[in-house]
Amino acid sequence: MTSRASERLDVDALVDDPRTRIIVCCGAGGVGKTTTAAALGLRAAERGRHTVVITVDPARRLAQSLGLASLDDTPRPVPLPEEATGSMHAMMLDMKRTFDEVVREHADPERARQILANPFYQTLSTSFSGTQEYMAMEKLGQLRQSGDWDLIVVDTPPSRSALDFLDAPKRLGRFLDGRLIRFLSAPAGTGAFRLLGAGFNLVASTIGRIVGAQFLNDLRAFVSAFETVFGGFQERAERTYRLLQAPGTAFVVVAVPETDAMREASYFIERLATDAMPLAGLVINRTHPLPEGPAARLDADRATSAAEFLEQAGSSLPAAALRLHADRVRVRERENRLREALVSAHGGVRVAEVAALPEDVYDLPGLRGIGESLAFADRGR
């Protein structure tokens, strides 16, 4: 199949459209998801939206520049210049606190106390793989329902897999509603045990031997207390999942032009399609477009041979500049190949690129600059 030129992701159209209510940034670790989310939130705010950005684990200096001193689960205003027509808030997710709130909301005070004190809950709320993702989605649902913001930008957690936040609510549900947990928590002699028949003693004694009796007791106490809030959990998880599929949501897949990150992006785009989640496009950070003009027409081989000639003539600066250019052209060619392969594999997904900057971004002017590149960047050659 011949590759077709990728179409540009129109970031301003996306953030200006009042129907866009949620933007979810997702992608592999280390590709600049948080920065992209913050830059999109800032651009939207300065163009008139009332925006809140949920981040999970921002770099310290970025957090500071957003006015986030601590992880406190509360949206904090980000000071914008006077000419900004909208507003921006940012918050860092505290997954345990969010989880505690959900429990309190769904259980009577006594039961909530029991749940919150159970060692299983302690583990579940702090280190269950997927809790962070689940709570990010829960927080998204809460903010959406509050109606205080007209655009919510979510930075997804750095997961084992970039897809965890889609799967976490279901997995948590499957776990809490699973056969095993019912089996372990059921009093002896009930139906669950009979169903298992002769294998039961073996299994029960195995579990006991491996994890110890205390573990089973804690688990039983946890499950029976959690039973009452569980229905509410499932329902909320499903509601958030449906919210993600709704037309007001836009997924932005973030990548860098490297094989692994692009492969993950490709995988993610497929998965979003499978789950009927609306994809706005792909942001490729840290690209190396060539400068306009004659430099764009000077290919790597020509630049290298000119550099060799100049090195012999003892002209070191121009030779170094040409070598640098030759490297850059090769890098750019590889980036173009990676991008076009992904675009042609995914029916012309829209792309915006942000050129690599010499220094890291950790303040509002830096984020604004990224927002501008996202909006205006010519795709480059």
């Binding site: 670790g29 583990t123 947990i181 110890g212 003009g293 550099a307 003539a313 121009p318 500049a321």
Partner: protein
């Protein structure tokens, strides 16, 4: 073996004598590639090394250009000067079933548990259990001796070790301390019993003088910051830090005065266009202006990289360097990286 970890170490010295090498790094720094190159370097000259991945990403299969790997130690890479690297893609489910069979002879019970969803349960509810199974697999391989059928304690301790070293492609820096601190992770859930004992045994190996955690970084601020934070966390747990591997290093293309001039005001445009003209290139002036931008960006980047490198040097760990490989990593490139590590003093 007594460890003089307070004495300054020779370059690469942190790798000597250690048998479990845990490689971590921020996402995007090339941790998997570096782990594979390290395994290959440690195996060189007739050694036998196990390379384990624990995150279920099949990163090693991708790196080696082979189909997804099963839960099985397979000879897959040959090292310079003879030597073998076996590769294992460890997953918690298989590790649990193997653990049950190995220590309790409970194959049937294990399968029953699997059907019930117990394995999913154990490895999902409590990442601590997942982590202890995965680190447990690596530590078992460290302790395994030749002639043993399965369990580490089967063979007399006079037999040589089955593997000269085990290299783990570990979770990223942000999660490494939690991942390795299996003891406290499991403590909240299992206060007694075999899992707890198993965790204690695993922790003993991880805290021993034979284990090193190596950090992969690139010359950028955020990965360097994570390296700094990670080293502090790992040291606080009483686990030994090995080396810092600076990956994807690019040589500067300008001499020192050239770099300073280019970073400050931009390079000498006149010299640039004169040279381009001499080389017979079209539009030398306009081309010089465009290339000047590229040169300045390069100089600024080199300046930032130097600042980051000084920060990494201040950590007081040996710094090993690996070059940026244009065009991605294949087996030949892996070979080259392994040789670079050997040149810098990495050996068994």
């Amino acid at each position: 073996m007594s460890e003089g970890e307070h004495r300054p170490q020779p370059p690469g010295g942190a790798s000597t004598k250690a048998r479990l090498h845990i490689v971590t790094g921020k996402g995007g720094t090339g941790k998997t590639t570096v782990a594979a190159a390290l395994a290959q370097a440690l195996a060189s000259g007739g050694g036998r090394v196990l390379l384990v991945e624990v995150e279920g990403r099949q990163g090693l299969a991708t790196l080696l250009g082979v189909p997804p790997l099963p839960y099985e130690e397979r000879e897959m890479i040959s090292a310079p000067g003879g030597g073998t690297v076996c590769v294992l893609a460890a997953d918690a489910e298989s590790a649990l079933l193997e653990y049950l069979e190995m220590f309790y002879g409970m194959r049937r019970a294990g399968q029953a548990l699997n059907r019930l969803g117990a394995v999913d349960f154990a490895t999902t509810i409590a990442p601590g259990l997942r982590d202890v199974l995965l680190t447990g697999k690596a530590t078992e391989a460290v302790r395994r001796r030749r002639g043993a059928r399965r369990r580490a304690s089967d063979a007399p301790s006079t037999e040589p070790f089955h593997y000269d070293a085990v290299v783990m492609d570990a979770p990223p820096t942000g999660r490494i301390a939690q991942f390795l601190n299996v003891n406290s992770e499991v403590a909240g859930l299992a206060r007694a019993g075999p899992i707890r004992n198993h965790a204690d045994r695993v922790m003993e190996v991880i805290r021993s003088g034979g284990t090193r955690v190596h950090f992969v970084s690139v010359l950028e601020e955020m990965p360097a910051q994570e390296t700094r934070d990670g080293i502090a966390e790992i040291s606080a747990l009483g686990i030994r830090v090995g080396v810092v591997l600076v990956n994807m290093v690019r040589p500067p293309l300008l001499d020192e005065p050239g770099l300073v001039a280019a970073a400050d005001g931009g390079p000498d445009l006149h010299a640039l266009s004169a040279g381009l003209k001499e080389a017979g290139l079209d539009d030398p002036e306009e081309l010089a202006a465009a290339l000047a931008g590229e040169v300045r960006a390069h100089a600024l980047r080199v300046r930032l990289e130097r600042r980051v490198r000084i920060g990494l040097e201040d950590l007081g760990r040996p710094l090993l360097e690996l070059p940026l490989l244009e065009g991605g990593v294949d087996r030949a490139a892996l070979d080259l990286l392994a040789r670079r590590l050997i040149d810098q003093g990495v050996r068994r």
